[in-house]
């Protein structure tokens, strides 16, 4: 348990923030006094990500879970009731592709912990074991209504290592922030990055796309042989090959493959390769050309994790279109938006709005109630935590955001973030806002 430690951090941070906080915040939310017992968010627009938006509805939270959703719920006496008339509620936002903590700010050489680029296969490394919880980008992400992030190693390697799903409830270690029960994930990459890092820059392998595929095929075959030889998982081993064991986790389906891949043709090659081993990736990330193969992705039940408007940095990014998400959604692909950036993670809701608008402009109006899923329910599925979070439905964890208005407006701000019913961020109350140890005594007050 890290609770004691965390409380101290929050209290100290609160004292500092009382005089150092940036904006004065919006109007406060009355009724959220410290306490236990049921909590009711009363009279807001509830964008549940599980159906149509409910106007003037209540969300009833009991013991960290969503207990009921609907109009005029009769709640027990003694429940804490927060009037959120005029405000909106959505599930907490989920960023399925982030490097917070492993490429922490300030961006200095000492903070470059995201790519174990010393070799093209690094399945054994874990993002969790490099994550710096004092990254000052974390609190800015919180202010954007983000409650869960998936932190990944970078894309220098064919197999980059294990990702970690974290709840944005600041703590002293990644371990204390880990999303309970979230499946493990494995970062893989294809295309320009691995061959540039290992081929062009280091005169090693892989140097080409075909080299990338051949090397991955060989590594998966070795992992399969290793897994067969060590089928009895209970048997204690004194010669564990962590690299092969981690890849074996991919083959057994225990670890979800999160595959960085831009081009349609390369995604199809990847699907064929994985097929040889009887597996499939959970999702392609940065999949700027996913719209070209959307029916295949839908049939194969492979998710697509995309940006709204990034393009042109590399040749493989050239065919990005802003209507990508809308095209994918219309074809039945589980599409999620990601930030990959400490800047854009602060405005995922605006990214969803822009992607929705791009669809409308192309003649595909999927509607807001679908678009909200791109930053909630669908990334939850990509990370395998969709039974716990991502929608506002009875039984789900109360990971919620109360917004000052329509979440698809540029003028709207997150007023309150709850994780399992507990406040982790409140705009109006500096005490509800954490501050990284890094900025303590550095950040000046106006």
């Amino acid at each position: 348990m890290q609770m004691g430690e965390r409380r101290i951090v929050v209290l100290v941070a609160g004292l500092i923030m009382a005089c150092a906080t940036a904006d004065s915040g919006g109007p406060g939310l009355e009724g959220l006094e410290e306490g236990r017992g049921d909590l009711v968010l009363r009279g807001g627009s509830v964008m549940s990500a599980a159906g149509p938006t409910l106007e003037n509805a209540d969300v009833w939270i009991r013991e960290g879970k969503i207990h009921a959703v609907g109009a005029d719920l009769s709640v027990p006496a003694g429940a804490r009731v927060i009037d959120i008339e005029g405000r909106w509620v959505t599930p907490g936002l989920i960023d399925p592709h982030s490097h917070l903590g492993v490429y922490a700010l300030p961006r200095v050489a000492a903070h470059a912990d995201g790519n174990e680029a010393s070799g093209p296969f690094k399945a054994a490394v874990r993002a969790e074991e490099a994550f710096w919880p004092q990254d000052p980008a974390i609190e800015r992400a919180l202010a954007g209504g983000v409650t869960t992030i998936h932190v990944l190693p970078g894309s220098a390697n064919l197999v980059g290592g294990q990702g970690v799903t974290l709840r944005l409830k600041p703590g002293l270690s990644a371990r204390s922030m880990r999303f309970p029960g979230a499946p493990s994930t494995m970062k893989m990459a294809c295309g320009e990055n691995p061959k540039r890092v290992h081929g062009t820059n280091r005169k090693g392998a892989p140097a080409t796309r075909m080299g990338e595929v051949a090397m991955l095929r060989q590594a998966l075959a070795h992992a399969r042989a290793y897994a067969r030889k060590n089928e009895d998982e209970e048997k204690p081993k004194d010669d564990v090959d962590y690299e092969k064991a981690a890849l074996a986790g991919v083959l057994s389906g225990k670890a979800l493959i999160q595959n960085h891949c831009y081009r349609a043709d390369e995604m199809l090659v990847r699907l064929d390769l994985f097929e040889e081993f009887g597996i499939r990736p959970r999702a392609f990330h940065h999949a700027v050309e996913a719209y070209k193969i959307r029916r295949t992705l839908a049939e194969e039940e492979v998710g697509a994790v995309v940006w709204t408007d990034w393009w042109g940095n590399k040749m493989e990014m050239l065919d990005a279109v802003p209507a990508n998400a809308a095209l994918l959604d219309s074809a039945g692909v589980r599409v999620a938006l990601h930030s990959d950036s400490p800047r854009d993670i602060q405005r995922l809701n605006q990214q969803a709005a822009a992607a929705l608008a791009a669809g409308v402009r192309a003649g595909l109006d999927v509607g807001r109630d679908r678009a909200i899923r791109w930053i909630t329910a669908n990334p939850a599925w990509v990370l395998g935590i969709h039974d716990r979070v991502g929608t506002i439905e009875p039984g789900k964890d109360a990971d919620l955001v109360v917004w000052s208005g329509d979440p698809f407006s540029v003028y709207t701000r997150a007023d309150l973030n709850l994780i399992a019913g507990e406040r982790v961020y409140e705009r109006a109350k500096p005490r509800g806002r954490p501050l990284s140890d890094f900025e303590l005594g550095i950040r000046k007050a106006p």
Binding site: A22, D23, E192, R295, D309, N313, K314, L364, V410
Partner: protein, 395 residues
């Protein structure tokens, strides 16, 4: 005389002119490439083509005052981008002219235009004195409106290189002293009677023009202490400084205002990304605006994401920036700051760079339906739209 272009009336929209409150149900009359009238009751000449825009919003074309449009197609590909190489051994190249790199047919530009941009200041990068910028309208035909728009100096990144900032400032002072000597001794310089100077004749000539206030000097600088040093150097040498970046500007906002130095700022820069920007704040731009500084917004070196400029302004409004001031910060103010008198506003005589929006231009759920550059409607379909259309067909 035969009219080459019809007179066009944009009628019935809410018109933000770039100055003052919006005009409801107003008409903008465009003749050839200029605005000839704007207001609620404009008599329309015979033969005017009327575009009924009831419910739409009209603004001046958006302007990014520090852009990399037209100088890079694919950033990772050395052959497809105009690099900044040579910084280390050639940190001072005042005579470099970015128009020599500029490609009016860049396939990046249409995406920016589809986001409502009609003009940009295209800047050189790298070194300590990077070179001279240009003002472009985002059209393929004769896009460059002004060359030698400003001289660009960078006190961040490779401007400092691996040395100290003290050394960068020392070199800058040395460069300015040489140019000053050159300016008042051109004869002796040519006949070889002047002491040896540390720069080429071409560089000296350009620097001399900056010293004569013929062109402003854009200093890219973030740290509060560096901003004060820059202002002191500008005062010493009677330069016309414009500050770019200015992440910690809020700490010295009064000094910036007193020096009458305009600033080009990204109001969304709130991350302590480097040791020069530890005091970054979301309300940095707002605090400078309130202190009386002339603030224009920029995405700072953007090309592929230049279309996001309007969202930057919208988010500034969400953080307390007055709406019309935020719109002016991406229209009228960049034009004013660089002395382009006929852009950035909608008024009689102004160049007709105009955007028609289907809603609030700051909202991600709105987009431009018409963009006029120099009075001509621009085809808003991008390569991205063509790809979308192609793949919308059943697979």
């Amino acid at each position: 005389m035969i009219r080459l272009l019809a007179t066009v009336a944009l009628a019935g929209a809410t018109v933000h002119t770039g100055e003052g409150p919006p005009l409801e149900g107003a008409t903008v009359l465009i003749e050839a490439n200029r605005v000839v009238a704007v207001g609620q009751d404009i008599p329309l000449p015979d033969g005017t083509r009327v575009l009924n825009l009831e419910g739409a919003v009209v603004t001046p074309g958006l302007i990014d005052p520090s852009s990399r449009l037209g100088v890079g197609e694919v950033l990772r590909e050395g052959s497809a981008v105009e690099g900044t190489a040579g910084s280390a051994h050639d940190p001072v190249r005042a005579a470099l002219r970015i128009e020599d790199s500029f490609n009016p047919a860049s396939f990046v530009t249409p995406v920016a235009r589809s986001g409502g941009l009609t003009s940009a200041v295209v800047v050189p990068l790298g070194g300590l004195v990077s070179g001279q910028s240009i003002w472009v309208d985002l059209v393929e035909q004769d896009p460059v409106r002004r060359t030698s728009l400003a001289l660009h100096v960078s006190l961040r990144g490779d401007g400092k290189g691996r040395g100290s900032r003290a050394r960068a400032f020392l070199r800058l002072r040395e460069v300015l002293e040489d140019a000053r000597l050159f300016r008042s001794n051109r004869g002796p310089y040519i006949s070889g009677k002047l002491r040896e100077l540390s720069l080429s004749a071409l560089d000296l000539d350009v620097l001399a023009r900056a010293l004569s206030q013929e062109m402003p000097v854009v200093f890219e600088v973030d740290r509060a202490a560096d901003i004060l040093t820059v202002l002191e150097i500008a005062r010493e040498h009677k330069l016309r400084p414009i500050l770019l970046g200015v992440a910690e500007g809020w700490l010295v906002a009064d000094e910036i205002a007193a020096a009458h130095a305009p600033v080009l700022v990204d109001p969304l820069q709130n991350l302590p990304s480097s040791f020069d920007t530890l005091q970054s704040r979301e309300d940095n731009a707002l605090r400078m605006h309130r202190a009386g500084v002339r603030v224009a917004f920029t995405l700072r070196r953007a090309a592929h994401r230049a279309h996001r400029l309007r969202f930057v302004a919208g988010n500034a409004v969400a953080s307390g920036y007055p709406y019309e001031a935020a719109l002016a910060a991406i229209t009228r103010l960049p034009a004013e700051i660089f002395g382009i008198v006929d852009e950035g506003t909608i008024k009689p005589g102004a160049l007709a760079n105009i955007v028609v929006w289907n809603g609030d231009p700051f909202e991600p759920l709105s987009w431009p339906t018409h963009v006029f550059v120099r009075g001509r409607p621009v085809d808003l379909r991008t390569r991205q739209d063509l790809l979308t259309e192609r793949y919308l067909q059943p697979q």
